[in-house]
């Protein structure tokens, strides 16, 4: 795990992720300015660090209602504003980017941050960027696989010789600057289906699994499939970290947590996805067997520990700022995480 800067003896890592969505608060129907949203993201990372949270990541999305299209620029600002929290993309759309440029950006962020940068590389659930940059959607799979492989090669080799279909060849190319400690942790973003996880396993790369909702048991199958595929490909699964990411919201009671979060999720999904989140499904999110970590701090502690027992993952990443969630509520959540949730999780997962 050392290669990925993870130390299991300190317990499971706890992180936050934001998609950088810029949606109205359904309570007030108001939208803060893009400037304020970006400032609040930076501030959120600072508060997360102060609360002892291990990891903070920012997503890249190129569509209406999002503000972190230039997510590496935002991460760079976070790198400067913080001192010890790990920072990452979640995810970088590698399919439509040049891996050389992505690597240059993140290696630079790594230097600015003193060795805290990571990359989570995904393939976009939206196609806006394909149109914007002139890529053909029919190359969806191949673009991702080729560019992800190149990104890893640049990470592993100081001098790169490479040729592929979607980018000019690299001949004895040195991609500079190099990260502080020689390489960056690079994760493969997986949408929660076994098929995608199996590909990460075959490649022997860490898996960052995002999920919206559903029972832990279903996602356990995905994690198991990932490790099995890694083993089949000759990798040692115990050397490959797994991260899970999904909805999180803590309040005094699970009922209050559901009540406060639901309008944000539902309205936000309507605008960004075209369909709301059914109440019936959301209500099940409070169940101890659900992957959604919504409830009182004690309930959340129990859920995360149960998930850890099932997944054996090294990092959990919470998404709580979706859909115009007011900043004071985010601060309250960070307080609950820092004071109650984090100490318990660390205590029970440290090996």
């Amino acid at each position: 795990m050392e290669k990925y800067r993870l130390d299991p003896s300190k317990g499971m890592e706890f992180g936050l992720y934001t998609l950088g969505d810029h949606l109205p608060d359904p309570g007030t129907a108001e939208r803060i300015s893009p400037q304020q949203r970006i400032r609040e993201l930076i501030e959120l990372a600072q508060h997360a660090e102060q609360a002892g949270i291990d990891f903070f990541s920012v997503g890249e999305s190129h569509q209406e209602y999002f503000v972190t299209q230039a997510h590496s620029v935002v991460l760079s600002a976070i790198a400067q504003a913080t001192e010890k929290i790990k920072i990452s993309s979640s995810s970088t759309i590698i399919s439509t980017s040049d891996p050389v440029r992505v690597y240059e950006d993140f290696a630079t962020i790594d230097l600015i941050s003193g060795g805290r940068a990571e990359i989570v590389a995904g393939r976009a659930s939206r196609v806006g960027l394909y149109d914007l940059l002139g890529y053909d959607l029919r190359d969806y799979e191949e673009l991702y696989e080729e560019k992800f492989d190149l990104l890893r090669k640049i990470n592993e080799e100081e001098v790169v010789n490479w040729s592929g279909q979607f980018r000019p060849a690299l001949n004895d190319a040195k991609v500079l600057p190099r990260p502080l400690n020689g390489s960056l942790p690079i994760w493969r973003a997986v949408g929660g289906t076994p098929a995608s996880a199996i590909k990460a396993g075959y490649a022997g790369v860490p898996m960052y699994m995002a999920h919206l909702g559903g029972p832990v048991s279903v996602f356990k199958r995905t994690v198991d499939a990932y490790r099995e595929a890694a083993q089949q490909s000759g990798f040692d699964p115990s050397e490959l970290p797994v991260a899970t990411a999904g909805f999180f919201y803590a309040a005094e009671s699970s009922q209050q947590a559901l009540r406060e979060m639901y309008p944000h999720i539902n309205e936000g999904m309507k605008r960004t996805n075209g369909q709301g989140f059914p109440k019936q499904n959301f209500a099940q999110g409070a169940d101890p067997r659900s992957v959604m970590n919504i409830g009182s701090p004690q309930e959340i502690i129990e859920k995360i520990l149960y998930q850890h027992e099932q997944f054996g993952h090294q990092r959990y990443i919470a998404q709580m700022d979706f859909g115009g969630m007011p900043f004071d509520k985010l601060m309250k959540n960070i307080e609950l995480i820092g004071n109650e949730i984090l100490p318990a999780i660390k205590k029970y997962t440290a090996k």
Partner: protein, 188 residues
Amino acid sequence: MKVVGLSGSKVGTKTRTALDYTIKSVTENYPATQTTLIDLADFDIQFSDGRNYLEYEGDTKYVLQSLMEADAIIMGTPIFQASIPATLKNIFDLLPENAFRDKVVSMLVTAGSPKHYLIVEQQLKPILGYMKAQIVQTYLFIEEKDFHRKEITNDDVLFRIDRLVEDTILLTETYKQIREAKEAEYDF
């Protein structure tokens, strides 16, 4: 309540004719409803390429959004080659898999032969079920002999159109009440 009539083919006129009668029945009997008739023959629709439905442009976007905003959809389809037409299947492919969740969908079918009666059971209903529609079980099957020069000449068909409309509206209202009662229980 928003009701969309969808005529699922670019070929022929019988499905459209039957849908015209149907939408007329909706507006006459339920004036408070907001109706839209979408005849795929009038639109230039892209083939599905897997993107989110919000990301299509032009006619494709208009048709998909109208369907997604509907409370009830009355779907009209001819039967071609013992099957639903490709134009209609493309609409299903363009939409998300839960597109018809919390929507009522009813069907009317025009066919040249009574031998095609079970195509709806075998092809259309499984798709609608998969996409989470509340299906009006009884559908309307209209044969070629019931039409004459873009008019329906069989009174039995006209009665059945009115009954299909009644069933569609009744189920939509009832389902809405059931859902609201259930959601009120959640207290969030």
